[in-house]
């Protein structure tokens, strides 16, 4: 084994320490006598050393966490979604729901009947191919939106798993199967997670979308880093910032926000903030004062209920009554009485309800107040879409 042609093929294993001792000794002996093979060994050793010396870690071009967080389905998320599906299918375990959120079964019956009616009316012939499509149609509105690496110049298809991105100059429109459409504003990143007849789901990592959905509730979901947005028959704008927090503004119908055990039902004309790790805050009127919003954020996200409540109550207008009502079972029990007392200064309480009943969380009182403030979902999903901002009941005095 003294020929270079025998030695050269062995140099790799020689450098890797993978040669049996006998062959290794033969290579050693050859290298001592052959300068060409020594140069070859030195060159290969230099390559190996250079590659091994590469930094083991490299910084990605940007923080990738928001995009990842938007795609994580937590066990709590999974439970929440499973619960919603159960409720949609009429199999809700009503006893497991928080008392204040329990609803009569007739709402489910109305939704189910409504869904059947619409499907029959629209006709399977037109609807089926669109519902079954595993992709959404994308149309360029301005600039050059991108699906993955491909520029969208006219129309395109966003398939499951693909990203749609807009830069500062571009906008796009999406057809959500046959159930609605979504406009994608500049500087937005979203990913299509599911396009199935029973579930349309996207992850909004950053940016702004306007969604207009006319399907039965709970078919269209948007995951953000701080909450799951569930359509209940509605039109809304959703913005996710670089920290993963979001602002939802509902312009018709209802939207539910969920994170863990925190839920917020946001009706038309109201907004709601969400924060990573905390989920949704309490919905507020889109004309609420800055001071009111600041006090509400301190209560929702900074656990400063006792300190911020006086400012909130002082700033509250009749249009903010729904916020006070939705906050009443979120805030610490000792504060509930003060909230209730301010609430009934702003709006006439519904007939048959009492302060004690509300503070106890009596189901009848809770439902009566929900209906009174336009927060009930009993009228069926096909009417929700047409629900616009509601004026508060006339001011009155405490019972």
């Amino acid at each position: 084994m003294n020929d270079c042609t025998d030695i050269l093929p062995l140099l790799q294993d020689y450098l890797d320490g993978a040669l049996p001792p006998e062959q290794r000794r033969a290579v050693d002996a050859h290298l001592e006598a052959c300068s060409a093979c020594r140069d070859e060994r030195a060159a290969l050793a230099a390559v190996t050393a250079a590659v091994a010396a590469l930094p083991p870690a490299l910084d990605p071009p940007r923080d990738l966490w928001p995009g990842i967080a938007a795609r994580l389905e937590t066990p709590l998320h999974r439970d929440a979604v499973a619960g919603l599906r159960q409720r949609r299918d009429g199999a809700a375990d009503r006893a497991s729901l928080p008392r204040a959120r329990q609803r009569p079964a007739r709402r489910l019956a109305a939704w189910t009947a409504g869904a059947a009616l619409l499907l029959a009316a629209v006709g399977a012939f037109w609807l089926a191919p669109r519902l079954l499509s595993p992709a959404w149609e994308v149309a360029r509105l301005e600039g050059t939106p991108r699906i993955g690496q491909s520029a969208v110049t006219g129309t395109g298809q966003l398939r499951q798993g693909q990203w749609l991105e807009t830069d500062g100059q571009s906008r796009a429109a999406l057809d959500v199967g046959a159930i609605g459409n979504v406009e994608v504003e500049p500087n937005t990143r979203l990913r299509l997670l599911a396009a199935r007849p029973t579930e349309h789901r996207l992850a909004l990592a950053e940016g702004t979308i306007h969604a207009r959905i006319w399907a039965p509730p709970r078919l269209f979901f948007v995951e953000t880093p701080s909450a799951l947005t569930i359509d209940l028959g509605c039109e809304y704008t959703l913005t996710v910032d670089s920290t993963g927090g979001s602002l939802l503004h509902v312009t018709s119908g209802f939207v539910a926000l969920e994170h863990g055990d925190r839920t917020a039902v946001v009706p038309a004309g109201r907004m709601c903030l969400t924060r990573p790790g905390r989920g949704p805050g309490t919905p507020f009127d889109d004309d609420a004062s800055e001071a009111f919003r600041r006090a509400l954020a301190r209560i929702d996200f900074d656990d400063e209920g006792a300190d911020a409540l006086p400012a909130l109550l002082a700033e509250a207008r009749p249009e903010d009554a729904a916020t006070l009502w939705q906050l009443i079972y979120r805030i610490d029990p000792p504060q509930r009485g003060r909230l209730y007392d301010r609430l009934v200064e702003l709006v006439e309480p519904p007939e048959g309800t009492t302060r004690a009943g509300v503070l106890r969380g009596d189901l009848d009182a809770v439902e009566a107040w929900d209906r009174h403030l336009g927060l009930d979902l009993d009228s069926g999903w096909f009417f929700q879409f047409f629900k616009k901002k509601k004026a508060p009941p006339a001011p009155g005095s405490a019972p």
């Binding site: 790799q12 294993d13 390559v47 250079a50 590469l54 870690a57 940007r62």
Partner: protein, 192 residues
């Protein structure tokens, strides 16, 4: 490996101190705590991104695959039993994600251009190294995809040929041949 001598006990203590916070984070993440998983992401994203970037030589793809890796890891956390270090497990998830992507890309290429001679697509890309300077990362990026994958897995990530062969669905001898080719091409680039 360690700059100063340490008794076995001190070494074990040091290992425990280093790994304990991660162990706690992993357990919390397994229970659904996204905050803990974010901390794991922050600790490991650089290494994961480096694997993705070096194996694909495509920054956009590397970003996507890095995100896919962490999503896959989150979904599979239940199967992590702690027999190995979390880092080793995560990097293995990453390698599988990247190799799956590369396999799919090759299948797509095969469908678009029906031919049995896939090797003809496995050529070095045009010289990205104009001028006299040499950037090793660029030279690696210019390697044929399979040779590049084997080089990164063997030389940077420390996998053995048998492990690489299993992950890539090739014979160990083929893995060695790819490594040989990668080293030869890099050597030529270095001495150019």
């Amino acid at each position: 490996m360690h700059g100063q001598p340490a008794g076995e006990e001190a070494l074990l203590e040091q290992i425990d101190t280093t790994l304990a916070p991660h162990r706690d984070l992993v357990q919390r993440a397994q229970a659904g705590d996204t905050g803990a998983f974010e901390a794991l992401y922050r600790a490991h994203v650089g290494r994961v991104y480096a694997i993705c970037l070096r194996m694909t030589a495509d920054e956009t793809r590397a970003v996507e695959l890095t995100q896919d890796t962490f999503v896959r890891a989150w979904q599979s956390l239940g199967s992590f039993r702690g027999e190995s270090a979390f880092a080793s497990w995560l990097y293995r998830v990453c390698v599988n994600v990247v190799l799956g992507h590369l396999r799919a890309a090759r299948r797509r290429a095969a469908r678009l251009l029906p031919t049995d001679d896939l090797a003809r697509f496995d050529r070095p890309q045009p010289d990205p190294l104009p001028g006299t300077g040499i950037d090793l990362e660029q030279a690696i990026a210019a390697l044929p995809p399979q040779a590049r994958s084997v080089l990164i897995l063997h030389e940077v990530e420390g996998y053995r040929h048998e492990e690489i062969a299993e992950m890539m669905g090739i014979a160990p001898g083929t893995s060695k041949a790819h490594l040989h080719r990668a080293r030869q091409l890099l050597k030529q680039a270095l001495i150019r």
